[in-house]
């Protein structure tokens, strides 16, 4: 996607057996929600028990992004996975605060903190 465009979203995935981190950058709105949903889906498709959604480089997130995050959180819960969200930028933190969703989603200030203290693997 052309990053000169006003609406853009990019993502990369780092995964090992224990944790998958989806790094997302750009703006999440009506124009990019399909791409955002695809990024979250990629996180859930991994076999890792812990899925970290890294929003550090997300400069804007509207209610459509919140909807996708909550649905992903619910699906992670159903499939016995742990979803952790890194809410780096202040605008993202603000929308979680205003909507009260910061209490539903498990938020971390950095990826390092989100990937620390992984739950034990259930055999």
């Amino acid at each position: 996607m052309d990053s000169d465009d006003a609406n853009w979203l990019q993502w990369t995935v780092e995964a090992d057996h224990f944790v998958t981190v989806v790094h997302i950058s750009g703006e999440v709105d009506l124009a990019t929600r399909m791409e955002f949903t695809a990024a979250l889906r990629r996180g859930l498709d991994s076999p890792s028990r812990v899925v970290v959604i890294d929003l550090t480089q997300v400069s804007f997130l509207s209610s459509v992004g919140l909807r996708a995050l909550v649905l992903t959180h619910q699906e992670a819960h159903r499939t016995d996975r742990v979803l952790r969200v890194v809410d780096g930028s202040t605008v993202v933190r603000r929308i979680f605060e205003v909507t009260g969703l910061g209490e539903l989603l498990v938020l971390f200030p950095t990826v390092d903190e989100a990937t620390a203290h992984l739950p034990p693997v259930v055999s």
């Binding site: 006003a6 709105d29 804007f60 209610s63 603000r94 929308i95 205003v98 909507t99």
Partner: protein
């Protein structure tokens, strides 16, 4: 309380272009167009525009009601916010609320085809209050009883803005958002 002033169904000029007009250079070229648009607005929105000082930085644009234009709207708004010197906290709330207002028009106003939405942002003559108005000429459908996330978008505007009014008439839907300017 929520009544349209004037019933003229004004055509939107140049609907083929995405960014139809962007003019905050001064009152002369903007004023006649603005006056024409104001006649289509409900009273609260018309009053908000009338009280705005358009010799100062303001935004008055019409864009196609499409998801790709939301970034354009946020960009215009951010430029204006920078020029009026709002705090970062206020800027965030303004951009989040206006995006929800514009997203609502993009998603729901024109189920049967293309349409336009108009954005106005300005400070009143006292310099104490900012108003942002998002209007469309489409059809408002009220959220379902369990409003879910669409309701969340509407509720967010109420939480983010000091003033939030939504007015729907057969001529379209208008959202008025307002914030006091920080000292």
């Amino acid at each position: 309380m929520c009544e349209a002033v004037g019933s003229d169904d004004l055509p939107c000029p140049g609907t083929g272009d995405d960014a139809l007009m962007s003019d905050d250079a001064g009152p002369l070229p903007t004023a006649p167009r603005l006056a024409e648009w104001v006649r289509t607005l409900p009273a609260l929105a018309a009053d908000a525009v009338a009280s705005s000082d358009i010799t100062k930085p303001h935004v008055y644009i019409q864009v196609r009601a499409s998801p790709q234009q939301l970034g354009v709207i946020r960009s215009h708004l951010n430029d204006w916010i920078g020029r009026i010197g709002a705090t970062r906290e206020l800027a965030q709330d303004m951009v989040l609320a206006v995006d929800e207002a514009a997203s609502n028009a993009v998603e729901h106003a024109y189920p049967d085809g293309p349409g336009t939405l108009t954005l106005f942002a300005g400070c009143d003559r006292s310099g104490q209050t900012t108003h942002v108005i998002v209007s469309d000429t489409g059809t408002w459908r009220p959220p379902p009883v369990d409003p879910g996330f669409r309701g969340r978008g509407l509720a967010m505007m109420g939480l983010l803005a000091s003033l939030f009014e939504l007015c729907s008439t057969p001529n379209g839907t208008t959202i008025v958002l307002g914030w006091p300017v920080a000292d």
